[in-house]
């Protein structure tokens, strides 16, 4: 999916040595090969090929209806593919019913059994495995400690808070020690604060267990924080796979750039490309745009320049003339506390979003609507998109 890029600096702000997908000798844990699933006339999953590696935290990210949940249900065995095959640890899963698959799923609704207590819920899968009673009791205690629900073993699900139910569902899915844990929108029902905490708990849990996690989410922040790699989906297809920083900083299309985070997109004609720098003509800046050339682009073609709001500098005094310089006035702003987002209207009438960190409490020259401002960005802050 990712084409070869010319490395200059590292992409993103964090460094990770865990990258099994870069090792061609390594056999993936799960392999989707040309998998297609139709519901009537609707194609939910369209010719998807995907490899997920042992101990990886992998996220399927996309808007609702993009096929991400169907892809997960195909792996769990609740749906049967119309074409293609799915293998787990080298074994073809075709025709294998859900109860025989060594994967467990945590459901979006949690699907806790209302007639069973917390400990009985967690023991459910172990009983089905035929584990001896004594071992089940030990394993349940271990799981309760793992998700910090020690005192609640005898409660019924309806006596628990949303966060506690979420942890019971997690413990129940982990208890049978599956080869892979599937999480369907695991945090969607939690409020924002709890969701953020739980994201980090999930990562800690995954690293402690060394278990392979596959998470399905429509929340880009959830995917970015938790996952080693993200697959961005659109209309049943995967449009980009990469580390969170790769997907954010080097999106391969306008769709990905726009879906993950905020982006300003400028359309323009490519006037020069020398392998290092791309020059584009635009009505918004007399000197044109300049950006690093990640992928080869051809002169004369139409391209889009994507610039994230936080990578744009806002000036109250005119900076010197040159490329990547835009003039306009503040049309609107949103104060978020940590950040302020400014909507700047250019002379051409189009608007550009620029974000500024509120690094200090007191500001000498506060900005108001209708103030004249100038925007600049560095060539390595912008990404050239050809589709």
């Amino acid at each position: 999916m990712t084409t070869t890029r010319r490395p200059r600096l590292n992409i993103g702000a964090v460094r990770s040595s865990f990258a099994p997908w870069t090792d061609p000798a390594l056999e993936p844990l799960v392999r989707f090969e040309g998998v297609t699933k139709r519901f009537g006339a609707e194609t939910a999953v369209n010719d998807v090929s995907l490899s997920i590696y042992e101990s990886e935290f992998f996220a399927l990210l996309g808007p609702s209806g993009c096929g991400k949940t169907t892809l997960m249900r195909l792996l769990a065995g609740f749906e049967t593919p119309d074409a293609g095959r799915i293998t787990l640890a080298g074994q073809d899963l075709a025709g294998m019913p859900p109860h025989q698959r060594p994967v467990n799923m945590m459901f979006q609704s949690y699907a806790l059994f209302p007639h069973l207590s917390v400990e009985q819920n967690i023991a459910f899968g172990l009983k089905q495995q035929g584990m001896p009673k004594g071992q089940i009791a030990d394993r349940v205690v271990e799981m309760l400690e793992l998700v910090r629900l020690g005192g609640l073993a005898r409660r019924k699900p309806h006596q628990l808070s949303g966060g506690q139910r979420q942890r019971v569902a997690l413990a129940r899915a982990i208890a049978p020690n599956p080869k892979m844990l599937l999480l369907d929108e695991p945090l969607a029902a939690l409020d924002k604060k709890l969701r953020e905490e739980t994201q980090f708990e999930l990562i800690a849990l995954q690293q402690r267990l060394g278990m392979t996690f596959l998470i399905v989410t429509h929340d880009q922040e959830e995917a970015m924080v938790t996952a080693d790699r993200i697959a961005v989906m659109r209309e049943g297809q995967i449009v980009q796979i990469g580390r969170p920083a790769e997907v954010y900083e080097t999106p391969n299309s306008r769709y990905v750039a726009d879906f993950i985070g905020d982006v300003n997109l400028f359309e323009g004609a490519v006037t020069a490309a020398d392998g290092k720098v791309v020059k584009m003509a635009t009505a918004d800046c007399p000197a044109g745009f300049e950006a690093l050339e990640d992928d080869a682009v051809s002169v004369g073609s139409t391209a889009w320049l994507g610039v994230r709001p936080e990578k744009i500098q806002l000036h109250l005094d005119p900076p010197k003339e040159g490329p990547n310089r835009l003039a306009g006035k503040v049309a609107d702003y949103g104060y978020l506390g940590d950040w302020t987002t400014y909507v700047v209207e250019l002379e051409s009438g189009r608007t550009v979003r620029a974000a500024r960190a509120n690094a200090s409490r007191l500001v000498a020259r506060p900005i108001a609507c209708d103030d004249a401002v100038w925007l600049t960005f560095a060539p390595d802050a912008a990404v050239v998109l050809t589709r």
């Binding site: 769990a76 609740f78 019913p97 859900p98 109860h99 994967v103 467990n104 799923m105 459901f107 979006q108 609704s109 699907a111 059994f113 209302p114 007639h115 459910f124 899968g125 089905q128 495995q129 699900p157 309806h158 129940r172 899915a173 049978p176």
Partner: protein, 266 residues
């Protein structure tokens, strides 16, 4: 808050009186010491005593209870199967026809049902008796049981069954381990409803019963034709008590179900 208007009070009292005055009179006269039904001769429980010595009436009670127990159980088991087929199987061929045919007897005149069942038994040359009444009651109460169970299954989260299968259950195991315990209140309510319906049925039983299988409503009806005796009042009072207990039982079970469902959804 302002109370109900005088008009509303009067209409409620009149309506309740219309419904319950005859029943109240019956209950009161079952404690009448006099043999004459319409003359009050003081309080007595002697007709309840007489009831215990009336072997024919006791036999009829026995038949009614056995018919009720067996037919209600049969109707409930079949009702669970029908409800599962209707709710879980998605869009199978002939689903609409199947559901229509399940619910049609709800609105079919009882006389027509009774007659058609009678014709069926005659056509097959089956001797009419205990089993024909039982099977007929199961047939008629089946649709009521299905409606009750189906209503519960529709609101039952399918993810629970999937979770059970994900954790190692075959579909059948998942049904018994997860689905059945969760719809149990509705199943119990369906059973009680079927039992109550069987208990007070006269029309179907009259058509499909035979010698030696006279149910209590049939016995009461035939005795009344010979003249109302206080003993009939006594047995009717007992019947009212039994049916009321059944109906209240269904209500309480449904209440509990609704409460659990609320908590589950919260």
């Amino acid at each position: 808050m302002k109370g109900p208007s005088t008009f509303n009070r009067v209409s409620v009292v009149a309506g309740l009186a219309f419904l319950y005055l005859p029943i109240l009179l019956l209950v009161i006269y079952s404690f009448n010491a006099s043999r004459l039904v319409t003359v009050w001769g003081g309080f007595s429980t002697k007709w309840y005593g007489a009831l215990l010595r009336d072997q024919q009436l006791l036999d009829a009670i026995g038949v009614t209870l056995r018919v009720g127990l067996i037919s209600a159980t049969l109707a409930t088991v079949l009702g669970v199967l029908a409800a599962v087929a209707l709710v879980r199987s998605g869009r199978f061929k002939g689903r609409l026809l199947f559901s229509g045919m399940i619910f049609a007897p709800l609105v079919m005149p009882e006389v027509v049902l009774g007659l058609s069942l009678l014709l069926l038994f005659v056509a097959f040359g089956l001797p009419r008796g205990f089993w024909t009444v039982t099977v007929s009651h199961a047939t008629v109460t089946l649709c009521y049981a299905t409606v009750v169970i189906q209503a519960r299954l529709v609101s039952f989260d399918k993810a629970l069954e999937e979770a059970a299968r994900d954790l190692g259950c075959t579909p059948v195991q998942a049904f018994f381990a997860v689905t059945l315990p969760n719809i149990a209140p509705a199943v119990a309510a369906a059973w009680m409803l079927a039992f109550t319906l069987s208990l007070d049925d006269l029309v179907i039983a009259s058509f499909t019963s035979g010698p030696g299988a006279t149910t209590l409503p049939m016995r009461i009806y035939s005795q009344v034709r010979l003249g109302v005796s206080p003993e009939i009042n006594a047995v009717s009072t007992l019947l009212i008590g039994l049916v009321a207990t059944g109906v209240i039982g269904v209500y309480l079970v449904q209440q509990r179900r609704a409460r659990v469902a609320d908590l589950g959804a919260a």
